[in-house]
């Protein structure tokens, strides 16, 4: 449950491999939710956009967010090396 902080781990490990990692979210149609579809590696915002546009062809919205700007809180059961 979201209100039990003890069952959640805050993730703060680096994700970019010598460059920057950008989380990609797309909305495939106006009535669809914005969905996380992975991440691309790029030096800057424009490079990330170019890569995401080449990969994802059908969407009405494309959002990019630097991976380091995301505050991650994940249930311990989903975190490798932790026991549920």
């Amino acid at each position: 449950m979201m209100d039990d902080a003890n069952t959640f781990d805050a993730g703060d490990q680096p994700r970019g491999r010598g460059s920057h990692e950008w989380e990609v979210l797309i909305r495939e149609a106006a009535e669809e939710p914005l969905r996380h579809v992975g991440s691309v590696t790029a030096d800057d915002r424009e490079g990330a956009r170019e890569q995401a546009e080449a990969l994802f062809e059908e969407y009405v919205a494309l959002w990019l967010c630097p991976a380091e700007a995301v505050s991650r809180h994940t249930a311990a059961a989903l975190t490798p090396g932790e026991t549920a």
Partner: protein, 385 residues
């Protein structure tokens, strides 16, 4: 991978590859255990800036391996960077083999010494695949250090002394293709039985510039077939495989037809179609040292997710991801030339990340497909792209 010696050999040959008869989803996972490297290889992008930048810890790696085993992964190929830089490597290999996974190590061999070889053999490692990319001077140039070849051979000898099986992995570039036979002869004399010939794979333009042209690639694949038959005729029971380009499946089929005759090729086709061509996003997956899950080992610039957020098994099963979904249903998306190709079932349109790197279009033709319209049975070659 295309098991050339199995396809071209006879049932009497001992050195036949045991291959999975069908490609199971997530059967093989390549895990880059570390971002650190002790050599700089010309044809590989640096895996990462160093060891400390977010590598999975020992506990995290074990949790990740447990998930792979529960999911039904069969083979874990541990790569790098240079995986022997991880001090807990044998512990992790033992954890994987105890969990029922077959484990393979991809290494440059230079750090493979007696103590490590014995520990890896005790841990149950199936074999170490040591990169040897040419005769000594050429290999040293590619790996950026004088003496790298000698150190790799010393590593092979140390592994063999510890009864750890060794394969040699030779990645074909524009410079080293002429060295293939001599490298094989030299290392077969050292007792190496398995040779993996890999085409260059990339998702960026710099590595692409090292690639060979179509004629040279065709010659290289023919060399692998010729030297396999030649070695077997001389009684050397070596195992050869080709990897990284499924256009080779069509070529090897044609070679078998010419050299072995029609009686044998039906079985060759059946095996190649069982293997099923390019497996990006399907039977093969890749996880980098920071836990990012990639569609295939050399497609590092896009990740589906990260095992620190969600188990690998859940990421790999989530077909709400449009790219994963399309790769698994690629018949509707591959280039025009592919669906009518005689060899589609054994290739599946080739490498999507090479097409992306070369053209900016994920669904363009694989730049390494060297087969002509006539060879692939297009009725109207003029309609090909």
């Amino acid at each position: 991978m295309i098991p050339v010696s199995t396809l071209l050999g006879t049932e009497d040959d001992a050195a036949t590859t045991v291959i999975s008869r069908e490609s199971t989803r997530g059967a093989t996972v390549v895990w880059h255990a570390t971002g650190g490297d002790n050599l700089e290889c010309a044809y590989r992008e640096a895996a990462g800036p160093g060891r400390a930048e977010g590598e999975l810890t020992t506990a995290e790696a074990k949790g990740f391996i447990d998930d792979l085993a529960d999911y039904g992964v069969e083979v874990l190929r541990v790569a790098g960077g240079e995986p022997l830089l991880r001090e807990d490597l044998s512990e992790l290999i033992a954890h994987a083999t105890d969990s029922g996974l077959e484990t393979v190590l991809e290494t440059n061999g230079t750090l493979l010494r007696a103590e490590k070889s014995e520990a890896l053999a005790d841990a149950g490692l199936s074999y170490a695949a040591v990169a040897v990319d040419g005769l000594p001077d050429r290999h040293d140039e590619i790996w950026g250090r004088e003496g790298a070849f000698d150190d790799a051979v010393a590593g092979i000898e140390a592994a063999q002394a510890a009864d750890l099986p060794v394969a040699v992995r030779f990645t074909i570039t524009d410079e080293n293709a002429p060295d293939m036979e001599e490298v094989l002869d030299m290392l077969a004399l050292e007792g190496v039985k398995r040779f993996e010939f890999a085409h260059l794979e990339y998702d960026d333009n710099e590595v692409m510039d090292l690639d060979v042209d179509h004629d040279a690639r065709r010659r290289a694949v023919r060399r692998v077939c010729d030297l396999t038959l030649d070695a077997h005729e001389r009684g050397h029971e070596i195992e050869t495989v080709l990897s990284g380009n499924y256009a080779d499946a069509g070529y090897v089929y044609q070679y078998a037809l010419d050299e072995l005759g029609e009686d044998r090729v039906a079985a060759v086709r059946e095996t190649l179609e069982d293997i099923g061509g390019d497996q990006a996003g399907d039977a093969i997956a890749d996880v980098d040292y920071q836990g990012n899950v990639h569609l295939t080992p050399h497609w590092q610039r896009y990740a589906l997710g990260n095992v620190r957020d969600r188990p690998f098994s859940a990421i790999w099963e989530d077909e709400s991801n449009p790219i994963l979904r399309k790769l698994r249903d690629r018949e509707d998306h591959v280039p025009d030339r592919c669906p009518d190709c005689d060899y589609y079932a054994m290739c599946r349109g080739g490498s999507r990340h090479r097409a992306l790197a070369a053209t900016g279009d994920l669904w363009a033709r694989d730049p390494q497909c060297y087969l002509t319209d006539e060879e692939i049975g297009l009725e109207d070659p003029a309609s090909a792209d």
